[in-house]
């Protein structure tokens, strides 16, 4: 559509230069659109996994749910693999590129007042479209889901290394458009995706909210061990975050407040259990709950 006008001016070197820019920008935009699409799925599927995992507190056979969650997370990892693949041609060594935008330094320049002045209205910074903020939120969502599953399985905190270890991909076959020659290169075709420490940290911070929800549900379902375990675990995470304090990324301090509230709710729940439990001996307590659980099973067993 723009050809006509453009051709009229095609002699101009400026227009010629801008045609090159047009191509470069469009290529970026397209890749960006693809990445957004893929990574949106990462969010959605991670959120669904978390939702699914919450059912663990109310069904008799948790293992089924854990397996289903594992499958869902496999699919998410596939998507992350696609992102890595997508970025491979761009920047062969590091894949931070598409995710640095998620570092706090973009959205909150006020933490670095020297580098990015505020007042200049017309001279505000101009960002490339590829380094946007939301994508790393998506990776944080994956961290949240993966660490939630890990906690339910192992009752421990997954490490950054463990997270990253599962984000190593073999070159996917569908990319054959680049020619089979690539695939023949010996040993080189391994893609890795590195979750940044900040994203890991923020994902773990979000995890605490889910753990709090799980604790409340557990109490609601008569599970008396989980809350105490959770309060211990949450306290450790809370102490960890206190230790990092305001040296971490900007959002951490914001999330610290929510984390503190979650911890308070879990501590309150443990307190309530203890106080109520104080009225009869402990062994009886367990009886009470086990009888209640069996009482409820028939209904739930159908699911």
């Amino acid at each position: 559509a723009q050809d006509r006008e453009a051709s009229a001016q095609s002699s101009s070197p400026v227009i010629a230069a801008f045609k090159v820019f047009q191509q470069e920008l469009d290529t970026k935009h397209d890749k960006h659109e693809r990445l957004v699409k893929i990574s949106r799925d990462v969010t959605i599927e991670s959120k669904r996994t978390i939702f699914l995992l919450h059912r663990v507190t109310s069904v008799p056979n948790a293992e089924d749910i854990l397996n289903e969650a594992e499958l869902k997370l496999d699919a998410v990892r596939q998507k992350i693999g696609q992102i890595a693949e997508e970025l491979r041609g761009e920047d062969i060594f590091q894949f931070h590129r598409a995710f640095t935008g998620g570092e706090p330094y973009r959205s909150e320049p006020s933490t670095f007042p020297t580098a990015i002045p505020h007042g200049v209205v017309r001279h505000a910074e101009i960002g490339g479209p590829l380094k946007f903020n939301c994508r790393s939120k998506r990776i944080q969502e994956y961290v949240e889901a993966a660490s939630f599953l890990h906690y339910i399985r192992h009752r421990s905190l997954i490490s950054l290394e463990e997270i990253n270890a599962r984000l190593v991909f073999m070159k996917s076959e569908k990319e054959d458009s680049e020619g089979p020659a690539d695939a023949l290169q010996p040993g080189g075709q391994v893609l890795t995706f590195q979750v940044s420490p900040s994203d890991y940290l923020l994902g773990v911070a979000d995890l605490t909210g889910e753990l709090m929800r799980m604790c409340i549900s557990s109490v609601g379902n008569g599970d008396i061990d989980t809350p105490f375990q959770l309060s211990q675990f949450l306290r450790q995470i809370h102490d960890g975050f206190s230790y990092i304090g305001n040296t971490g990324p900007y959002e951490v301090s914001k999330k610290l407040h929510v984390l503190r509230q979650s911890l308070g709710k879990v501590e309150d729940a443990c307190y309530a259990l203890r106080v109520r439990g104080s009225e009869i001996p402990k062994h009886m307590l367990a009886d009470v709950f086990s009888s209640r659980t069996t009482h409820m099973e028939p209904e739930e067993g159908v699911v």
Partner: protein, 228 residues
């Protein structure tokens, strides 16, 4: 690994990162200082007497760009090059200012748009991402737009200085730029926002040309401007 250990591990990462950023910030401050000096040199073109001095002022600015290149060379040593985008925000603002200054110098010298490759050379950086510290298209375009705004001011001041041909030339140049930008499929990003500002610059220059036209000063300009 205990939770505590894991957090001190992460804390290590974060401190290292902070240190790098601190180093970068210091170098970037020096760049800003030099950029301000170049701007001061170039500001004189807006003065009535400034037009004659354009060559000498440009030469002086070119000298200061040596300092820029040295400082950027220093900046490159502060972080692993493949993590360019990790720290991009720190220098993005000043880089765009420097692109503005470079394109402005070249415009004053040649009245033409300097291409990205040339700007990169003036700043002592790469064009291609893979080669290292480079100049993003977006940052280049942002700098060009800052220059467009400076040119609208120059058009006004040219008239004050009695130069009636320059506004016409600037008008043509800006219109060409505008056409160029209209080829781009800008998303709702900061570049788009700044591009929206170009409309005001175009309009301002159109009004200057209008003022000259209605007074018949453009014809005078065309006549006397021919020997320029």
């Amino acid at each position: 690994m205990s939770v505590t250990e894991m957090f001190s591990h992460i804390q290590g990462f974060l401190s290292a990162d902070q240190d790098i950023r601190e180093d970068i910030r210091k170098v970037v401050q020096m760049l800003e200082q030099t950029a301000r000096e170049i701007l001061t040199v170039l500001q004189s073109v807006h003065q009535p007497s400034g037009f004659k001095e354009i060559p000498s002022k440009c030469a002086r600015a070119r000298e200061l760009f040596c300092t820029v290149r040295t400082t950027i060379a220093d900046l490159k040593t502060k972080f692993p090059m493949e993590q360019y985008y990790r720290f991009h925000e720190h220098w993005r603002f000043v880089l765009q200012r420097l692109v503005f200054l470079a394109t402005f110098v070249v415009y004053l010298e040649t009245e033409a748009l300097v291409i990205r490759e040339e700007v990169a050379k003036i700043l002592g950086i790469e064009v291609v991402r893979e080669k290292g510290f480079h100049l993003d298209v977006e940052d280049y375009l942002a700098g060009v737009l800052i220059m467009a705004s400076e040119l609208s001011r120059l058009a006004v001041n040219s008239v004050t200085s009695g130069d009636y041909t320059r506004p016409l030339r600037i008008s043509n140049f800006i219109n060409e730029l505008d056409s160029g930008f209209r080829l781009l499929n800008l998303k709702n990003d900061p570049l788009r926002k700044r591009y929206d500002g170009l409309k005001y610059d175009v309009k301002k220059i159109e009004e200057v040309v209008y003022d000259l036209s209605i007074r018949g000063l453009t014809k005078e300009a065309e006549t006397s401007g021919g020997d320029k």
